[in-house]
Symmetry: C3
Subunit: 397 residues, 3 copies
């Protein structure tokens, strides 16, 4: 274990990457070395917890979160990631606060920033708005820091926006690195990111967008598949095209799950709403045309129903590499005959990979903690090295 930690610490130090006084909003805006550094940081923190070495760097300090959508896993991951570093967490509850009273974003950003090291935000429900909101918070913090209304610049970490879900995609990357024995082994692996049927409508696009935008950077052959009309937004598609060229991998789009699964090493079947539906949904909600929302939902569900055969079945799994592709999901999955009558994945397939999806999720607290460390310190590698050297027990054994 310790040898392993030291070799990772050396690799991390060699990268010399920091995001100090910056944010982590979109993976495709970060250079590859930074992503490698964040991943290494997460792996080192995981190793430290296994070796019972304290990861606490902050004596006091706050991690603030704002959840504009429901969350169990990411909320817990943010809180436990903050706690790993010694930060107390608080959530801005917009219903019991005075935010509804016409308060501006920039004011609130400063008010919750005075003693916060990080502000984690989930705002994924409104296409065209979530990322914009995070940028606004970010700009407000910049201004207040520059003008000395804030004594330091808290980081913003994207806990899922309309464009990307970087803590999920990076946790997925950590899972793949674990599963295949290292990032370098991902080169040439075929990943199928495919739409799948769900009895609900309106699931965010951020997971598939995050996956194609990130996995194309490590030489993987990424295939995106969805029924006609279930388009993603352009920005991550363009990023995936560009990155696949740069990394020596590939990116293609196909029209069937079967085609995407053919020979795949990894499959990621998941429901999402068409970008056009999500845009119309945002417009309706803004205009408060609530009657139209029911119509939109009805239409969207009717359209979904045409594609019930987009289910990750045993039959389809047989077409993957040796019939044994790694199944991935960000959870919760719509499992046929478990959580719904007809869903994203057959029960027997899901059951085989269920514990794998738990392991996949288990990386998220560490990814978030690593993102926080990289945004807080000029030399995160030294901070981690000092913690390992101090070798303070995390708890008695």
């Amino acid at each position: 274990m310790t040898t392993d930690i030291h070799s990772k610490l050396e690799k991390l130090a060699a990268l010399q990457k920091t995001l100090v006084n910056g944010d982590f909003l979109l993976t495709w805006k970060q250079d590859e070395a930074t992503l490698r550094a964040v991943l290494l940081g997460a792996q080192i923190l995981e190793d430290m917890v296994k070796a019972n070495i304290s990861t606490r760097v902050f004596d006091t300090g706050l991690g603030l979160s704002i959840f504009r959508d429901k969350s169990t896993r990411t909320r817990y991951a943010f809180r436990s990631g903050c706690n790993l570093l010694g930060l107390m967490t608080e959530e801005l509850d917009e219903s019991t606060s005075q935010i509804a009273h016409g308060e501006t974003v920039r004011e609130t950003a400063t008010m919750i920033g005075f003693l916060s090291e990080v502000i984690g935000i989930r705002d994924d429900m409104f296409l065209g708005e979530g990322h914009a909101y995070m940028k606004e918070v970010s700009a407000s913090l910049d201004e207040s820091f520059k003008e000395k209304a804030l004594g330091h610049r808290p980081a913003v970490v994207n806990l899922q926006c309309d464009l990307d879900h970087p803590t999920q995609a990076m946790a997925d990357l950590a899972h793949l690195a674990d599963h295949f024995g290292g990032l370098d082994n991902l080169r040439g692996k075929k990943l199928a990111m495919t739409w799948a049927y769900s009895p609900s409508y309106g699931k965010p696009l951020s997971v598939p967008q995050g996956i194609i935008g990130l996995m194309t950077r490590f030489g993987m052959d990424v295939t995106l598949a969805h029924p006609e009309g279930y388009d993603l937004v352009d920005e991550p598609i363009e990023a995936a095209k560009r990155f696949s060229k740069e990394s020596g991998g590939s990116f293609k789009q196909v029209g069937s799950m079967k085609e995407a699964f053919a020979g795949a090493d990894i499959v990621y079947p998941k429901s999402w709403a068409p970008a056009a539906v999500m845009r119309e949904r945002t417009r309706i909600l803004r205009a408060r045309e609530n009657a139209k929302l029911a119509d939109l939902e009805k239409q969207a569900l009717a359209n979904n129903a045409k594609f019930k055969d987009w289910e990750c079945t045993e039959e389809l799994m047989k077409g993957t590499k040796d019939g044994k592709a790694l199944y991935m999901h960000c959870l919760p999955a719509d499992v046929t005959d478990v959580s719904c009558k007809e869903g994203e994945v057959a029960k027997s397939v899901f059951d085989r990979y269920r514990l794998d999806t738990y392991r996949e999720a288990g990386h998220k607290p560490f990814v978030i903690a690593s993102m926080i460390m990289h945004t807080r310190f000029g030399k995160p590698w030294d901070v981690l090295k000092n913690l390992v050297a101090a070798n303070k027990p995390r708890r008695p054994v």
Copy 2:
């Protein structure tokens, strides 16, 4: 103080008891030495706080709670018990999480377990279900730990289920040990656990069940009294019978408060709903037959009203040992002319024991902290001994 701590530490070490990688769900499933160890642990932690010695064992770590019913005292006790040990607390809020979306218990158990030392659960409203839910969470954690989806096995601590309320019963035991000068002095003491009238219906059965299941283990003469039909469930009744024989105490059931109070050293008058009513309530709620719920409540209240004379009055108190039995209650009590017109206890009786009931409640944070320590460490006695030896101040004076 310090001498006292050291003698308790020696007794604890002699018991050699640990629940490491296990849970604390029902007192009657624990052997007596374990209960003595948990009680000693709680007393040592209390002594340490009085002596301003730090009880912090965790550098980082989380205590998760799930409250499926309202709670003020136990919620605070869980949080302060976790904080005593250095754990940050978080509550899984099922309304803002995605749990309602068909997520399975076992998945959630793992998702909130990654960096948690303990998961505290209150699920007391549905007879036949609360304990079953905790067992399901427990089994899920076992599986994920065995399959390495979790790096450690978080403990489940029962913060009140349909069968038992072990943190309350153990705090009550600590109160009795305090009041009578030690556990051994409880031998031969007469305790009356009796039903009492309340203007509400549907109060859980877990407190009386927990009391008869625990107090019969220490040689006490326990009498249970309730009006006809207000039966408890069988499991704790059977446990009480068995334990009273083993411990040299006694357990009997009588039909009037007066008879139960006669010569009692301790009285615990408290309202609860008949097991049959609670079972029907669970059935109705499951079947969503909401109209029937109002009928059930009406019937139950009408039946309750027949037993308004089950009130702990001065007159009844005169019949206790020297007229001075110790009055106990888990709070909040329905006090006649204070919180209601006709309730469980007369104002003058309650007033005389009010501060005693506060002292009784004050043991709970320490009982919970001791339960956590016993489920986390192979040698909890050594962990406590090391803390006392370190003698780090809890705070400046």
Copy 3:
């Protein structure tokens, strides 16, 4: 920096002030030296954070809050102030607790006090009740401590009541001390505390009351201005009169914003409801005469509308000292053309001072932390001195 801290530490030690085992409820019940000590403590804590010196004094412990009204800023300030000192925060949520079930205040006070160092309370909506509630909690803690149901006496800190908003007023004082180069430089400065128009009704009176009750103690010339009928309650008015005489400052009341602004060094234009309206509102809510509430609101808004010219405009600002008075606000402000059509302050005025109002707010976490320290320790100056001497880094750099 360090020199500065040491000189402040010496001043603080010279004051020899502590509130140990007491509360911080109303500034006008504290002597001037205590207020100076709390302010110095806050400034020292700010300096320590800037110098990256750990301010953590508690190894474990809780800071409890009860918010009976919405709050963003003060809630965050309380939490971050507690965190600065090492306290984990918890909020008593009266909706998910059993408080609605007839539980008495004194019982709850004890139940949430067992391991709490401080209980922060906001109860500002009911004139004649908020301060009374805090006194009731305070008396309950006194009794339980005296009777040994509590092992220590937690402090109550007023996070805004019907009479005073001491954490706001003290943060405002810290802002003025910063802006004018020290408390002594406030002598002779002219401050205009004036009513201002808002499209809402029912804003608490605690801010203007807190400002006139505090600022008159440091030799300032304080003018209070409001339309006829918008009276404050008597207690702080009387305090302001008394203090202004004692401090060599002055206190007067005028009937126009223009008159109050004339030659002012500082202006604090802010909406509040007439005391008579707030008293009637409390009566209606107590009597559950909900229909009358709408009438009261309608009347109050109609009355407000007569005074739309009470807006802090550029024109009015020209009348202040050199046209450059410092504008203050507790936030959120009703800014004309930003948060409402017609409000308390013109957009261009607010924009010029916006970052100043952020700096003003930034003192609050430190003021709260200093209040907590003064209520917890017999010699808070020594505790701070020891922290500075220990010079433990708050976080890696």
